[in-house]
C-alpha cells in the first residue's frame, strides 16, 4: 500500500472570521493592480526585485558560510519542494539546512520539549508552526518576535495574503511567524463519475449515502482520534453555520442545536456512507481509499494533494478528480503553516535569513509551480501556475470562504479534546449531545486560560 507523503495538516486560529472578507478584499485589489499587464512578467520582475532586496545579505558575501540550520518538518510534499530548492539558499547565503522529516502527529510532541528549554539550547533553529500552535508558542515566551528583523531588512511581505498573518503570523500585535503555505479544507470528488456536490449539507449526507455500493463508498473519511476527526468535523460544523465559541471567545456554542445537527450528520456519514473502519481511519488511510478509486468524495485539504492524487504510482484517480467548497455555508476549515524563530534557536540570525528566503516571492512561486499551496495573492491569478493546477481557482473560493479555530492560547488542548470526544461519539461510547457538552465544558475552561 502506498503511503501519501503529505501527513495531515491543520487548522488555524484567529478572530479569523475575518479571513473570508480579508481574502476577498486582497484578491480583488491584487486582481485590479495586475489587470492588463502580463501577470507572469510582473511576477518575474517583482520576484527578481524581491530576491535582490531581501534575500542576498547586504553585509558581505555568504556571511553565514559554515552555518547549518536544523529544522523539524512534516513529511509532506511542500517540505520536499523546499528541500529541492535549498541549494539556492546555500549559494546565496552559505546556509546549509538539514530537515528532520516526521509525520504530522509526531511534530508537536517533539517541538514542545525543545521550545520550552533555555535560550539557545534547542535542537531546532527554525520551526514550522501549524495554525493551532501560534498562540501557545508565542504567549509561552518560546518564540522571538520578527518585527525588528523585518524593519531592519525592510522585508516586503505585503504580497503574502494578509489574512494569513491573522491566522498564523501575528499574536497580540507582534509578528512571530511568516506564513508559507495555506491548506483550505473542502471536498475532493470524482469528476469522471459525474459526481455533483449538492447545495445543502442535508443533501450531501443523503447523496453520499446513496453512492455507497459494495466496495465503493460515498465518502472516504478520517474518524480516528484526535486530529483527523477534529479537523474533518469542523467542516461539518462550519458548513452548517455553527462555531465553537460565540463572538466573545468565551461562551461555547459547540453544543447548541447546530453543533448537534452537524455531529449527527457526520456520524450518519461515518456509519452509512464511508469506508469500512472510517471511525479508526486517519488522513493517510482515507487518502489511500480515495486514491485507489474506492470513494466518490473526501472532505480534505484541497491544495496539498496535487502530488499524491496525480502520481500514477500511488493513484488510480489521476486527472479524475476536482475540488469543491463545502455545501451549506460553503465554509470549510482553513489552516496555514508558518515559519518562526524559537528563543531556543542556536542560530537566530541565520534562521531569519532562511525565513526571508523561503517566503520570498521568487522561491514561493517556484514552490507553487512544483505543486505547492500558494501563499502569495498574485499566484492565484498567475497563468503559468493556473495552467498547471487549474483547481487553484476553486481553491481560492474555498480559501475566501473558510474559517478556523479561535485564537485562544491552548489551541492544541482544544483540538485534543475535540478529537477525543468526537471519537467517543463516533464509536457510540457517548451520545452526541453528551460528547458536545463535554467539549463545551472544556472550551469554557480553556477560555479562561488566555
Amino acid at each position: 500500500m502506498n503511503q501519501p507523503s503529505h501527513g495531515r495538516t491543520t487548522r488555524r486560529g484567529g478572530h479569523r472570521r475575518v479571513l473570508g472578507i480579508g481574502l476577498a478584499a486582497v484578491i480583488l485589489v491584487s486582481a485590479c493592480s495586475t489587470g492588463g499587464s502580463s501577470p507572469s512578467a510582473s511576477t518575474a520582475a517583482s520576484a527578481a526585485a524581491s530576491t535582490a532586496a531581501s534575500v542576498v545579505p547586504s553585509t558581505a558575501t555568504k556571511p553565514y558560510a559554515g552555518t547549518t540550520l536544523h529544522m523539524l518538518m512534516e513529511d509532506l510534499t511542500e517540505t520536499h519542494y523546499i528541500a529541492d530548492l535549498l541549494p539556492d539558499l546555500e549559494a546565496k547565503t552559505g546556509i546549509k539546512v538539514e530537515f528532520e522529516q516526521v509525520p504530522y502527529s509526531n511534530m508537536y510532541e517533539k517541538l514542545v520539549p525543545q521550545l520550552s528549554g533555555p535560550e539557545k539550547s534547542g535542537s531546532y533553529d527554525v520551526v514550522a508552526v501549524d495554525y493551532y500552535w501560534p498562540g501557545e508558542f508565542a504567549r509561552s515566551g518560546w518564540m522571538l518576535p520578527l518585527d525588528d528583523w523585518i524593519a531592519r531588512d525592510k522585508t516586503d511581505l505585503s504580497g503574502i495574503v494578509p489574512a494569513f498573518f491573522d491566522v498564523n503570523g501575528r499574536v497580540d500585535g507582534k509578528t512571530y511567524y511568516v506564513p508559507y503555505f495555506p491548506y483550505p479544507m473542502g471536498i475532493v470528488y470524482r469528476k469522471d463519475l459525474n459526481i455533483q456536490i449538492p447545495k445543502t449539507m442535508e443533501e450531501f449526507v443523503t447523496y453520499t449515502k446513496s453512492l455507497k455500493k459494495g466496495d465503493f463508498y460515498g465518502a472516504a473519511m478520517q474518524g480516528a482520534p484526535t486530529d483527523p476527526i477534529a479537523m474533518e468535523w469542523l467542516n461539518f460544523l462550519f458548513a452548517n453555520g455553527g462555531d465553537l465559541y460565540a463572538a466573545d471567545l468565551k461562551t461555547p456554542t459547540v453544543n447548541n442545536e447546530i453543533g448537534l445537527k452537524a455531529l449527527n450528520q457526520y456520524l450518519d456519514m461515518i456509519d452509512n456512507a464511508a469506508q469500512t473502519g472510517a471511525a479508526g481511519a486517519n488522513l493517510d488511510d482515507a487518502s489511500n481509499t480515495f486514491a485507489q478509486g474506492k470513494a466518490a468524495t473526501m472532505v480534505t485539504y484541497v491544495t496539498i494533494f496535487a502530488g499524491f492524487f496525480q502520481d500514477p504510482a500511488s493513484s488510480q484517480v489521476v486527472d479524475k478528480w476536482d475540488v469543491a467548497p463545502m455545501p451549506g455555508t460553503g465554509q470549510g476549515n482553513v489552516g496555514v503553516w508558518s515559519f518562526g524563530v524559537p528563543k531556543s534557536s542556536k542560530n537566530p540570525d541565520a534562521a531569519w535569513e532562511f525565513i526571508k528566503w523561503v517566503t520570498s516571492e521568487d522561491i514561493s512561486r517556484q514552490r507553487s509551480l512544483k505543486g505547492g499551496s500558494p501563499d502569495y495573492t498574485s499566484f492565484y491569478s498567475d497563468p503559468e501556475i493556473l495552467a498547471k493546477f487549474p483547481y487553484l481557482t476553486k481553491a481560492l473560493d474555498i480559501l475566501k470562504a473558510g474559517k478556523g479555530l479561535p485564537l485562544i492560547t491552548k489551541q492544541q488542548d482544544l483540538v485534543a479534546t475535540l478529537g477525543r470526544e468526537l471519537s467517543e461519539a463516533a464509536s457510540k461510547r457517548k451520545a452526541p449531545q453528551a460528547a458536545l457538552d463535554a467539549i463545551a465544558v472544556k472550551l469554557a475552561e480553556l477560555a479562561t486560560q488566555n
Partner: protein, 306 residues
Amino acid sequence: MTSPDPAKDRRTRVRVGGLPFRWRMLLPLFVALMVVDAFPLVYSGIASLQRFLLSGADKSRPFIGLDNYVTFLSSDAFVNAARNTLVLSVSVVTIETLVAFSLAFLLALPNLRFRSVYLLILMMPLLLSPVAVGLLWRLILHPDLGVLNWVLGLIGIPKLAYLGDVNLAMPTIIAVDIWHETSILVLMFYAGLSALPHEPLEAAKVDGASGWQSLRHITVPLMVPIIVVAVLIRVVAAVKTYDLIYILTRGGPGTSTETISYLIWRTGLAGPLDIGQAAAGSIILLFVIVGLTVLLLRATDRLATE
C-alpha cells in the same frame, strides 16, 4: 617504621585511594544509576507535587500538595484507562504464557526435526521494535487495502474494521501484542525446559507415568520459578504498554484503548501540557508496578519453600 605484616600492608594500600577497591569498581554504575534513574525519579516526585504547566505565560510552579494525585485518580479518564490497562495486561500475560509454554514444550521435545528453523521463525518478531510492529500491522489490518481482509474475503468473510470498531480494537491490540511478545517467553521457557534435570522424568517414565502426568506433576512444578520470573517481566511491560496504542489506535476509537501510560503521555505532552499531573500519574504507575513485583516475588518465595 615498616609494617611487620605484609598482608595488613596490602589492605592499607588499597584503602589509600579512599574507598575500598570493590566500591570503586561499583562507582561508575552507581553514578550512572543516579543520573539515569534516581534523578528523573526524584524530579518526577517533586513535579508531581507542583502545579507545573509547560506552556502559558505563568511559569511559576507552586507546591500544591497531593492535588495532582487526587485530580488524576478521580478523573473518568483514569478509571477508563485503568480498566483498559487491566484488560490488556491480564489478557496478554495469560494468553502469551500459555501459548509460549506450549510452544516451548513442543520445541523441547526430543528428536524434533528442524528445531533451529522453528526457533528462528519464532524469534523474528522479537527482533522488531514495537513501532515497526505497529506500522506493519496497521497496513495488514487496513479494512480496504490490508492483506488480512483480502485473505478472509477469499473465503467469504466480510470486511472487518479491526482498529475502527470499538468492539474489535482492544482484542486486535491484544492479538498484535501476543504476536510480538510471545517470542521472548518462548525463549525463556525453552531455555528452562532444556536445563531441567532428566532424572525425575526418566524415573516417572519407568514408574509408568503418562506424558500428561509427567508434565503436570514434574515438568510444570520444576518450571515454576522460571514461569514466575517470565510472567513478572511480561506483567511489568504490559502494564506500561504505550507504543502499540500510540501507533495502532491513538487510544481510540474514542478512548476505548487508552491505557494509563498513554493517558500520562497525552496529559503531559499532547494536550494540556500538564507535567504535574503526568508526573503524578507516572508515580502512581510506578507504585502499581512495584506492588505487583513484590507480590509476584513473594509468591515465588512461597512456592520455593513449599
